[in-house]
Symmetry: D2
Subunit: 344 residues, 4 copies
């Protein structure tokens, strides 16, 4: 079976390739991809990656087409999320109820989610019903945000600041509200282009109590005016250096959780250990592999507790992939989340 898919590298060098897929191995499943979200990682590839082009897309909602002879957990026609990273299920960590420490994970075997078809191992599939494919494609990024929010252990009625208003940050804010925070603020770049404006506007729609335009407004001032002792939790979806702001606004005894990466030395920050000790501040990173929270994340979408339609602002196909990803980079369009429909 032929499958057309996308690979990419820097300067928006996005390439269409056709690969041969299947028939499935005994424990593999052929799926037809109906929707695949664009992640910040994809954007990094098509903006900065200098090496061989990378397969694009890993936020995947698909339909089962054919199953290997040993597969009983799904059947043709089933709607499934394809996990980008799956626990092995047999190591000591998995058996002890700590799949988050599994080191033998299954991945997508180099295939792009932004492609017509994929062959995936049966255990990487999570069946779902009652949810359209585009909405379902949010399962992966929502699970990332969910992992951060659970790590943050938000107290009922607590106060939370989210740093960074990308789709992940916006979903963190939504989930923090859903978990019962009384105050959720979010920071972003100044709303000087359509992308940033759309994000801060959506933050308000999602119920954020405060948006801060970093550069125009001072994060510490804005928070301390409202909460002189700082906020209970800070969730950092932006790059490591924004953790400096987190330290400024976290309350005595608070928790900072973060998942924003940066490379080239910008991943290293100075930490004042005395200050962390005297103020009892915990630094707890979030890394959402393997796909621990996919089932819960999918259910939140299905039950309507998170509304995908507010987040997915654009869909696209092979023909306009370059244009849409370019716009995500240059901010010229009010894109929150763009989702590719590889099969139209």
């Amino acid at each position: 079976m032929k499958s057309r898919g996308l690979w990419g590298k820097k300067f928006l060098d996005i390439q269409e390739r056709v690969t041969e897929i299947g028939p499935p191995d005994e424990d593999h499943v052929i799926v037809k991809v109906h929707a695949c979200g664009v992640c910040g990682t994809d954007i990094n590839f098509v903006r900065d990656w200098e090496d061989e082009p990378m397969a694009l897309g890993h936020e995947i909602a698909a339909e089962v087409i054919e199953v290997g002879k040993n597969v009983t957990s799904v059947k043709p026609g089933d709607r499934v999320i394809v996990e980008d990273c799956t626990m092995c299920g047999i190591c000591e960590n998995c058996k002890s109820g700590h799949p988050e420490f599994c080191r033998n994970m299954y991945d997508m075997e180099g295939q792009p989610g932004m492609g017509e078809y994929m062959s995936v191992r049966f255990n990487s599939l999570d069946k779902f019903e009652g949810l359209d494919y585009v909405s379902a494609s949010l399962t992966e990024p929502l699970a990332v945000s969910l992992t951060a929010v659970l790590n943050a252990e938000i107290p009922l009625g607590g106060t939370v600041l989210v740093l960074g208003p990308g789709p992940l940050g916006l979903m963190c804010a939504t989930l923090a509200k859903l978990r019962g925070a009384s105050f959720v603020g979010i920071t972003g770049l100044p709303a000087d282009n359509p992308r940033e404006k759309a994000r801060l506007d959506l933050a308000k729609e999602l119920g954020c109590d405060l948006t801060i335009e970093v550069g125009k407004q001072d994060v510490e001032d804005e928070i301390k005016t409202r909460f002189p002792n700082g906020v209970d939790r800070v969730i950092v979806s932006s790059p490591p250096r924004s953790i400096y702001d987190a330290f400024k606004v976290i309350r005595f005894g608070g928790i900072i959780t973060y998942f924003g990466l940066h490379f080239g030395g910008k991943n290293v920050i100075d930490v004042d250990i005395n200050d962390m000790i005297f103020r009892k501040i915990t630094l707890r990173p979030t890394f959402a592999e393997p796909a621990i929270n996919f089932p819960i994340s999918n259910r939140l979408l299905k039950d309507g507790l998170v509304d995908a339609s507010q987040l997915v602002t654009h869909t696209f196909g092979f023909g306009d992939a370059k244009e849409v990803m370019g716009a995500v980079i240059d901010g010229s369009q009010p894109i929150i989340k763009a989702v590719m429909l590889p099969n139209g």
Copy 2:
């Protein structure tokens, strides 16, 4: 391959049967059983079970003989524990880090652990090294006790009473000490036969601070004399009705965890809900399926934190199975833990 094994029913009707095993399916493994402990469940079968004879033995340490073509996790010669009950690894509960709620578990497919050979699914095996087979066969019962002790959330320096001095109760006491309890007491029947005497003697050797002979001594008196407010935790390895004693000696705000079963109506007890509310007592059952704590349990044995040689007092083969199990029932011998060696 022929395999001789044991089945049993009431009145010590223990039957030897020969079954055909293997060759292994693609994801199965043939193992040679070197040691299989006698569990209270086995004893219940050969004492009370009225229906078709049941396969005996599920505390299994074995050697890999042959592997199916898809199996890469073990190879011939490896030492393994055979899990009696294995998480599926692909359901929502397993993926969420809650294999303890998995409902699609793999079992031993009707085979006795008290047999020469078994064919088991690859994911039911936990490899180990540096531990002899007899000691390793304690992995399963130790995991049961470990689950109870972890459920009990024993505070460092806390006080614990274990009800029931069988192998599981004795291991609970050992683990409670290992977890940093300052006081561990244990109750048992009066030491009027060799079995009961051996158990209470061993309890003292294992470091128990108090042994109580129920019937001769009053549990509440013995505890309240030492701790007028009661103990922090009670772990109940004995039948449900002994939970009445647990309520008498648990402190305000304490936790009672229990795993002792009984049938025929004796599984139902009266609970005073007002009393539980006013005294803030939590009832938290322990059920150690699937095999969540096998890897940790095996490591405790290997690292010598739990000394198997103190617990395994008897080994036996096909020839003396009936005699040994009979002695466990009638108490005529100082048996703590008996382990069958199906291959001599």
Copy 3:
């Protein structure tokens, strides 16, 4: 200073008494009570209590009038909640961060909250601002519900059934939603009188996804139709015997928390220990003394996360106390929460 207050016993024998209050001891504070809610306990007194009349009212919002010479934490004019039960702050439990296990608590020294003035120890007062007295009087019952909801450890997106639609049950439902439950159901008596109808109507307004009229509808049927495996959590605000329903609808591995009391033998229920073990069901009672969650509860009201105006349907004074409490008993009026205003 003279203070008029209410005492009561069965058959609605509600008595007005005048007592002499103050001047305050060095560590006491004289407060003027502006609002005091009617609790189920008060109703029990005026319906069933056979002994000497009991002081009525302990859900108290008041104003500081005069402070003892050692008191620096409040000053005249401050708005305060009067705790009915206060941690000692110096025992091992309090010092270890476990005031919930404190056994040396301060109480209200026999004074009715349904009275004009009280003399209370300084440490029993929680200051608040930005909230009216009537709403603030919900702090105590909301804290009871909050303790139950926190004990229930509601998973984000989880399913919850609340048994009993009194003010406490209704607030449990509200808080469960606030904590991110995807489904909250509530049970009540058939809506055959104004009181029961008002409660079930309010449940729907508060966002409950299902109301079940016990007697007319079968609890298990209603839940299992929607959730064949049962719900994640059951919170029992109704009497102990309703825990039988909780066992029927709780999912494998679920938690049942409960705080409804009953007396005269109806506090004892049968519990099938085997079933609890096999289904991994935890029984965790809730008893909200001392006043651990008052500050958080008060903040939820102030921040508008819980809307007091939906719950407080009636206010009353000395003149109509008997009529209102009678109506709460006989169900003849659509009362959810009635609040006395002892100073008009």
Copy 4:
């Protein structure tokens, strides 16, 4: 009442002063100090402090002499620990069961613990029995170590490395063993003087499985040889820069807890945020104020779970204070813990 006590500043400028103490305020208690341990903080004062001399000593075991008129919790003759830092017991944090976040703590009002008598607030006293004063003076430092070990959430059978072999580090190692760690290693300076040699020797006596002489041996090599994946937990009692070693040896998903301070810029370290994210490493500081774990710590000493006699190597009085503290600094004597006896 006259009380002789010690104050100090740099260059071992230790001064004896006589102050007037008491009679006690209504809520104060006069105690006679029988034993007061030397803390690293005291050593810092007499080595480096440049300003006005500081009161020395805060690890205090004493006897009640006289109580203020409102005090009922202790009486003359009682043995007590004097807390250096006591929760207020009335703020929102204390009432919510989080005294660790209390910001209104009581302190020792400028008095040296290394003095004959003190006047202390009644709520700063923890009564004890069945323990001599010298051993009891370890309550404070043991509580610091206990807080770190509890923060570390040591898994049963887990592996732990303690950085720094001072009294606090040694007690961390002891407590980690007591909590059920299977392996505990400890690092120190090379055993080239009597002080360092004594510490590493005691580490072995206390059951440490490995001692590492930093400078002579490489921490990472020593650990990775034994545990290629690193250890479960690192507890850092040494200065902030040793956290670099912690990052090298912590396993995927591990927790680093630390309480060693340093000043003058040496409190700031570089942290690679990407690395923390990819390896799921939590940084959780420990700061043991207020005195949350004193009661438990005291009980561990009383119950013999921690043996004070192994740690207290020297006692001294006013006459030899300078000599002993000088020896702690220069390492010329095999001092682990030195305890002053201000009343001989």
